[in-house]
């Protein structure tokens, strides 16, 4: 039973300006007779979203929301995604199968989605004219910016930045840990454009008393209570001042899609994805560690000492997760393929939180021997790095290819999971299955 708020989304967009909605949602323009698809623009997109071709497309009225999508709410937004695995439909949580993450820069339609609340109306409308970003708290001068002011007052930076959900890999925990059961694909590396988080804070004047930031956003709480925030996280001041932490307004050259945080979001790359907060409207500088929803208790926290699987840990013994650990994916080939040749080209990416990746090694004999892969430098810090390798299998049979990345501080990926009660930080090695048939 979707809430009324969700139901409005796409329909509201169509009610306000149907032809603009055509353009925004599908890239569609109609012929002069207000029917069809001028030069075919938007026809393929609409067909893909509906899952079928439209034989009578020349008759399709302009500004008419396809009936199949008329009351779909957030699921209509999800239909812009390509091949993602939907874990949860309210709120939307979806991950990308590793073989669909092969691109060096993750396209919007293949970037994972981890939402805690209800996508706000502004993101459906894609209209920021009434939106302002407020900067307040421990600053000398509280400030407020429109989207145009934010873009024009500060230097714009474009960076490829990796964002990984803190719970990526949770599905492999035993005993299970609660939350979305992410397998491998809650990681993305899009090209983000925005302004430096530091520049905005400096403009307001950071007081000596400021130690932590607090992000406040427009998404709605699932209970429908307008007083409740689904999530409000932040970062230590030093992370906010790091030159690759940004307040982004574009994703891969386009306004940030509704599911990803229109009109602006923070990107605190390399840290648990929840610090990269969507639909941002206010940043408060605080003189204490921020205590908003999902900052406290056991949310995005791990015990500060290792524990045996299944251990009950006192809440006082949890610490806030910060940087994500070194990790890699094999994105070519897809797992579970049968090949007729002995030689196999492999490709993937590796990333390492605040660090850089110094090497990636590949094994095709269950970890007995390892071969170093070719590893490209990152296009900029905090981007994932692409690696490639080739293996030759000695005879036909079942093989596994394992990938293991090592960062510049000497940390490598483990084979086993460092179990923790809430299922975070699983950076165990990615394994794929390959059967050689001849």
């Amino acid at each position: 039973m979707p809430s009324g708020k969700q139901d409005r989304g796409l329909c509201e967009l169509y009610q306000q300006d149907p032809e603009r909605a055509d353009k925004l949602v599908f890239g569609r323009e109609a012929h002069k007779d207000r029917r069809g698809f001028l030069r075919g623009a938007g026809l393929a997109t609409m067909g893909a979203m509906l899952g079928a071709t439209i034989p009578f497309h020349r008759n399709f009225p302009a500004g008419l929301i396809p009936a199949a999508m008329a009351d779909d709410g957030e699921m209509a937004l999800f239909k812009t995604k390509d091949g993602l695995t939907l874990l949860n439909d309210r709120p939307i949580n979806a991950e990308t199968p590793p073989h669909l993450l092969d691109d060096p820069v993750t396209p919007n339609e293949r970037h994972f989605v981890r939402n805690n609340g209800i996508v706000p109306d502004i993101a459906y409308e894609m209209d920021a004219s009434d939106w302002r970003l407020k900067i307040d708290g421990e600053v000398n001068t509280p400030l407020e910016f429109s989207l145009e002011e934010l873009k024009s007052k500060f230097e714009n930076v474009t960076l490829k930045l990796q964002i990984e959900c803190g719970g990526n890999g949770r599905a492999a925990f035993n005993p299970p840990a609660r939350g979305n059961q992410w397998t491998l694909g809650a990681i993305g590396n899009a090209e983000w454009t925005g302004v430096r988080y530091a520049d905005v804070l400096k403009a307001a004047g950071v007081k000596d008393s400021a130690i932590y930031t607090a992000h406040y956003s427009l998404d709605g709480h699932l209970s429908g209570d307008p007083e409740k925030l689904p999530i409000s996280r932040g970062v230590p001041l030093a992370k906010a001042m790091e030159p690759h932490s940004i307040i982004a307004f574009a994703m891969n050259g386009e306004p940030i899609p509704a599911l990803h945080g229109f009109p602006v979001r923070t990107i605190c790359p390399g840290w648990a994805g929840s610090t990269s907060q969507k639909w941002l409207q206010r940043i408060e500088l605080r003189n204490v560690v921020h205590d908003g929803p999902k900052m406290t208790g056991t949310s995005y926290r791990v015990p500060y000492y290792p524990v045996a699987p299944g251990t009950k840990v006192d809440k006082a013994d949890f610490k806030i997760m910060e940087a994500m650990p070194v990790k890699s994916l094999i994105t070519t080939p897809q797992t579970n393929q049968t090949i007729a040749e002995r030689r196999l080209a492999l490709r993937g990416h590796a990333w390492a939180g605040d660090n850089s990746v110094s090497r990636v090694d590949i094994s095709h004999d269950f970890g007995a021997t390892w071969t170093q892969a070719d590893l490209a430098p990152p296009p900029n810090p905090y981007s994932w790095q692409t690696w490639s390798a080739e293996v030759t299998f000695p005879e036909k049979g079942y093989y596994e290819v394992w990938a293991r990345a090592t960062d510049d501080k000497g940390n490598s990926q483990p084979f086993a999971i460092n179990w923790n009660p809430k299922g975070y930080l699983n950076n165990s090695m990615h394994r794929i299955a390959v059967t050689v048939s001849a």
Partner: protein, 124 residues
Amino acid sequence: MLFSLERSLPVLAFALLLPMAGHATETTPAPAPAQSATAAAAIDEDDEFGPDWPLGPGREDTGYLCGACHSLAIVKQQGLTRGDWDELIDWMVEEQGMAEPETSERDLILDYLAEHFNVDRVLK
């Protein structure tokens, strides 16, 4: 099973009864299948909780309570002991604005969750 034996007794009782005879489901608010061995297949495709929301005592209460705010898709992914489900209900009440269920309803719901979504669940 990691949850305490004392609290799990009702769960075990249902677990034993259900596969044995269709009449064991007479106490459930959900439609009782003629053959319990094919219970999952007996749920209508248009069922409001979905065909993969397991049959059993507490099905409706749990579906309505959990599904009021979020999708049951998140519930179906979980594998928790009865004790962990109990803590999760506390968290929903204290932090997420869920109405506190009456004791008898809470027990029914905990039994249902611990029966169908325990640590031995298999992810689909």
